[in-house]
């Protein structure tokens, strides 16, 4: 068993265990911290697959951005030390069964399917290749989706400001 395998299983365990804890703990702040560790585990898996750029993006956007946003909104909306209310056991049971059945179905389908791998020469996921293809307008370029996502981010930014703005009392 090589070191790479050991690291893979450790990252997988980190991701899954903190994912489970993030959706089951009754303290909302701890849920946010477990979510953070789960996202770090996924970033580690990206590093393990040697997709360094996407791992860095994952850490910057998710760990540095979204989790901090979630923690701030917890501070703004929750009383410190409050536990989340206990859920009905029936609902938990049904949800667990639905999730488990879906998971079992997916895994059965997955192991019955055999994937065919391409034999072409691999393209290294380096920043140069990513940048060239991201802004390329040729056959495999992603310039149009890039622009569309830019517009979407602008719209989301303006939308957030408009929604979260405290409305002034109407002027008489």
């Amino acid at each position: 068993m090589s070191g790479s395998t050991i690291i893979f299983y450790m990252l997988a365990a980190l991701t899954l265990v903190s994912g489970v804890l993030a959706v089951t703990t009754r303290q909302i702040f701890r849920a946010a911290i477990f979510l953070l560790f789960s996202l770090i585990g996924i970033a580690g898996l990206f590093f393990w697959m040697q997709y360094e750029f996407i791992a860095a993006v994952q850490i910057v956007v998710y760990v540095g951005g979204i989790t901090v946003l979630i923690i701030f909104s917890i501070f703004l909306t929750q009383q410190a030390g409050d536990l989340l209310p206990k859920q009905k056991i029936g609902r938990q049971l049904f949800s667990a069964m639905a999730a488990f059945c879906g998971f079992a179905l997916t895994m059965v389908q997955l192991y019955q399917h055999s994937f065919t791998q391409t034999t072409d020469q691999p393209t290294a996921p380096t920043v140069t290749n990513i940048g060239n293809q991201m802004l390329g307008v040729e056959d495999s370029g992603f310039a149009l989706p890039f622009e569309v996502v830019s517009i979407l981010l602008l719209a989301a930014m303006i939308g957030c400001i408009v929604i979260a703005l405290r409305s002034k009392p109407a002027v008489a």
Binding site: S2, T5, F8, Y9, L16, G19, V20, A22, V23, I28, A31, L35, S38, I42, L45, F46, Q50, Y51, F53, I54, V57, Q58, V61, Y62, G65, I66, L69, I70, S73, L76, T77, Q78, Q87, S95, A98, A99, G102, T106, M107, L110, F115, T116, Q117, T118, D120, T123, P125, N129, I130, M134, S140, P145, V149, L152, L153, A156, G159, I163, A164, R166
Partner: protein, 104 residues
Amino acid sequence: MMEPGLYHLLFISAALFFIGVFGFFTRRNLITMLMSIELVLNSVNLNFIAFNKYLWPNRLDGLFFSIFVIAIAAAEAAVAIAIIINLYRSHQSIDVENAEEMKF
């Protein structure tokens, strides 16, 4: 233990997806529901990257899809939190059971 490959990554991704689905079903607090959605989106990213690495390493399409998924997830989280904070101002609560004026 086996050498990890595509199936291991797909197992992790599927497990994380259904952990997120479980959280979405059981949680009744809007922020924790948002966290479950983040888990689901992350499992999708992991899937894209795994397929890109193990099946089609000649193209970078999976990587680009996950970059766009991350961008859209960031926008979605920001808008959702703006809505949650606005809802908290008007209802003093972010429980989904308390926000049902438009239910009927």
